[in-house]
């Protein structure tokens, strides 16, 4: 992507300096809540409301990070496990099913494709609250139909992912359109069917786009609050994002230090993932070409 280093490079060093200065200021502002979070996570409860506030915790209480693993209502290990299970199922489902559907939209000419694609795009615009209540009824019916409980299990959270997500399908379709047709034609001559072309030719080339889709859906599941709030009832099924709410007692009075320590643990894996995949991520979005 940066094959032509001369172009776009800032020539005036003062300009570069100005940009650095601007970005540093903005980043400090953006980081402030995080630093505050991290600092609070190391304080004692009494010191969390201290006036004047201080950044360096004194006394220093790193045990908070141990305490959240033995907290009576925040079951850190269990919640993490639940979130990972849901995340794996969702990410795998979204990526695989969206790729298949996107291939259909990108590579197969058939009547009604344009209309169906339009409908699919329109579904992105449906706010979750609209379908939240009826979906609930549907999951109950599905429970009756399939003879096993759906509500009160993880199924309502991950099963829909296996039927494609409109946003991911859209991104992948855009990317598939950019893959030269000659490649798939060559594979076809070699005797590949459409599925063979998808899995042997298109998907290997689409790695950055797949990474984007996977990362996006991972972030959505990891942070989702409303759907687990509605579909999960038993505390032992809670996800991390939902479990954080358990710190707030109904009568008020939050153990801020523990809450912040838990929050830091919750965001760490996502931040690590993003930092690692940052380049692929931007590259992937670029190549999908949102401009349609």
């Amino acid at each position: 992507m940066t094959a032509k280093p001369k172009i776009g490079r800032i020539r005036n060093p003062w300009n570069a300096l100005a940009i650095h200065a601007g970005l540093i200021c903005i980043c400090v502002g953006y980081l402030l809540p995080f630093l505050w979070m991290a600092s609070t996570s190391l304080k004692t409860l009494e010191k969390t409301g201290e006036i004047p506030p201080r950044f360096i915790p004194h006394p220093w209480q790193p045990q908070n990070y141990v305490k959240i693993f033995t907290h009576p209502t925040f079951h850190a290990v269990l919640f993490t496990r639940n979130t990972i299970v849901i995340a794996i199922l969702t990410v795998a489902g979204t990526t695989l099913s969206s790729a298949i559907v996107a291939y259909g939209f990108a590579r197969i000419q058939f009547r009604g494709r344009g209309i169906l694609f339009g409908i699919m795009l329109a579904t992105i615009m449906i706010p979750f609250p609209v379908t939240m209540v009826p979906l609930f009824t549907i999951f109950r019916r599905l429970g009756d139909l399939t003879g096993m409980a759906w509500l009160g299990t993880f199924k309502p959270l991950w099963v829909p992912a296996w039927f494609g997500s409109a946003f991911s399908i859209f991104l992948l379709r855009q990317f598939f359109l950019t893959i030269p047709k000659d490649l798939s034609e060559a594979a076809r001559i070699d005797g590949c069917g459409e599925l063979g072309i998808l899995f042997r030719v298109v998907l290997p080339l689409a790695r950055p786009a797949l990474a984007v889709v996977a990362l996006f859906s991972f972030m959505v599941v990891w942070n989702d609050f409303l759907a687990p709030l509605v579909y999960l009832q038993r505390p032992e099924q809670f996800t991390l994002a939902l479990g954080l709410d358990n710190f707030q007692s109904a009568v008020g009075g939050t153990p801020w230090h523990l809450l912040m320590a838990a929050s830091v643990l919750v965001i760490l894996p996502v931040v690590a993932l993003f930092f690692l995949a940052q380049r692929t991520f931007i590259e992937g979005i670029t190549t999908t070409g949102i401009k349609g």
Partner: protein, 480 residues
């Protein structure tokens, strides 16, 4: 170049580490699911709203049950504490996977009962001898809807005036100047207002530093009318009475505080306090609020959050008579004064309810636990642990002498008073509750009480009429 090589090397390592950590969590998390139930036992699932100390204390009772009655009758109560219990319960009922017992608030009983979301308990209760005579009347009324019993109590409460004796003493000269007695809590509402005004303190920038009393700080804003003789809802005639003269007086009174202090100043103060009840920043404990309406449980919170406030901690022996204990405390309790002459010992009596959701799989076994919690000895134990009064008509002498709140007799007397009130038994109470909170805020910010109440009355009457109309139509069509 070195850095790119390093990056190439580092990335897979970090990825691998993340994967390994995920794997560890998967394995550890799965292992926690092992069953703790002895074979052959019926599992009764019990969801409770408490988190923190109260949850831990209730667990003691559950463990007692599992060891004794439960063991004999082969019932095992599995206890889960969670937030947002009301919504979780409803959703689980809708889903067809409800718990067997749900520990929610009194405010939901009528709402749940009206739509058939909870089981009737009349027969089960009668069979166990749990009747109206066994309970204090105010609590029995709160558990019933249209003549049927839908809930039993886990722990009750009763609201009284809680005041900071230390600040009363500190402000003795000003109080005396205003013709008030610093050694006594206010006895009439008029006196109460004069006390409150003395305690208000602003800093040089006009910010409120200390308030005598703040209506908006109360947990019981929608119930404040009780002390003015207001009855919000007439259950017999299905009438909403939010704009009655007594309610108007109530809201004029609420407004008088913002007129005196300034609406925005007051809200800023309120906002600064945030949701700090169970923390050392609790405005009452921090000396920023001198008088408030609270229940007996405050003694537990004070012992936990500001031990010095109760100079004597938990009673260790009976030598300390109740009166001596109380005189040692930095805080005092009295009936909240009423605005109506001759109407004494007015109290609001909220409680924590245990209900059996519709479609629960083990209704009879669940009731075993409800009945157990309402045995006199058990009820006294949990109420002592939670530091609350007791819902039963008869309590032991020991309960009163060993209670962690030295003022327990006042609370017990208030709950037994003819002027004790439970939450209005109305199917749309949660809506009225929100409406009255909104009205109180609007009035504080300058709205005319008459206007706010008229709007509230109109909105709620309309909503209630709609509820009744639709219920009738359902009856006619047989869609229940």
């Amino acid at each position: 170049m070195v850095s790119t090589v390093a990056m190439k090397f580092i990335k897979p390592v970090i990825f691998a580490m993340l994967a390994v950590i995920a794997g560890i969590f998967l394995i550890l998390g799965s292992r926690q699911n092992t069953s703790d139930v002895p074979p052959g036992f019926t599992v009764v699932e019990y969801w409770e709203k408490w988190v923190g100390n109260e949850a831990t204390q209730m667990r003691i009772i559950v463990d007692d049950f599992n060891r004794t009655v439960g063991h004999d009758k082969k019932i095992y109560v599995r206890y889960l504490s969670m937030t947002d219990i009301d919504q979780k319960t409803l959703i689980s009922i809708a889903a067809g996977v409800p718990p067997d017992i749900t520990g929610t608030w009194d405010t939901q009983i009528a709402q749940f009962a009206a739509i058939g979301a909870v089981e009737r308990l009349d027969d089960l209760a009668k069979a166990r001898g749990i009747t109206k005579d066994y309970y204090l009347p105010v609590y029995w009324d709160g558990c019933s809807y249209e003549g049927h019993l839908y809930a039993l109590i886990s722990t009750p409460g009763v609201v009284a005036l809680l005041y900071n004796k230390q600040i009363f003493a500190d402000c003795a000269p000003q109080l005396r100047a205003a013709g008030l007695d610093p050694d006594q809590p206010p006895r009439t509402l008029d006196e109460f207002d004069r006390y409150a005004a003395v305690f208000d303190l602003k800093d040089k920038d006009g910010r409120l530093q200390r308030a005598g009393y703040l209506p908006l700080q109360s947990w019981y804003i929608p119930q404040l009318g009780l002390w003015f003789g207001a009855d919000i809802f007439d259950a017999e005639n299905h009438r909403m009475m939010l704009d009655s003269p007594a309610m108007l007086n109530t809201f004029e009174w609420i407004k008088s505080f913002s007129t005196r202090i300034g609406g925005q100043t007051l809200l800023n103060f309120q906002n600064a306090m945030g949701n700090t009840f169970d923390s050392p920043q609790n405005p009452f404990l921090a000396g920023k609020l001198v008088m408030q309406q609270q229940g007996p449980w405050m003694a537990n919170y004070i012992a936990h959050l500001k031990p010095s406030f109760s100079q004597l901690l938990m009673p260790t022996s009976e030598e300390w008579k109740l009166k001596d204990r109380a005189s040692n405390y930095g805080w005092g309790v009295a009936p909240f004064p009423s605005a109506v002459p001759d109407m004494e010992n007015v109290s609001y009596d909220p409680f924590d309810a245990l209900m059996i959701p519709a479609g629960a799989k083990h209704k009879n076994e669940a009731f075993e636990f409800l009945a157990y919690v309402n045995q006199q000895d058990v009820a006294e134990k949990i109420c002592t642990l939670h530091c609350k009064n007791c819902q039963l008509r008869h309590v032991s002498e020991e309960f009163l002498t060993h209670h962690p709140n030295p003022y327990i007799a006042i609370y017990q007397q208030l709950a037994a008073s003819p002027n004790a009130h439970c939450v209005p038994v109305c199917a749309i109470w949660p809506e009225i509750y929100k409406e009255l909170l909104d009205s109180a805020q609007a009035v504080t910010l300058g709205e005319e009480p008459a206007v706010a109440l008229k709007l509230a009355q109109q909105r709620m009457a309309e909503r209630y009429d709609r509820f009744i109309t639709l219920e009738r139509r359902r009856e006619q069509l047989g869609i229940n």
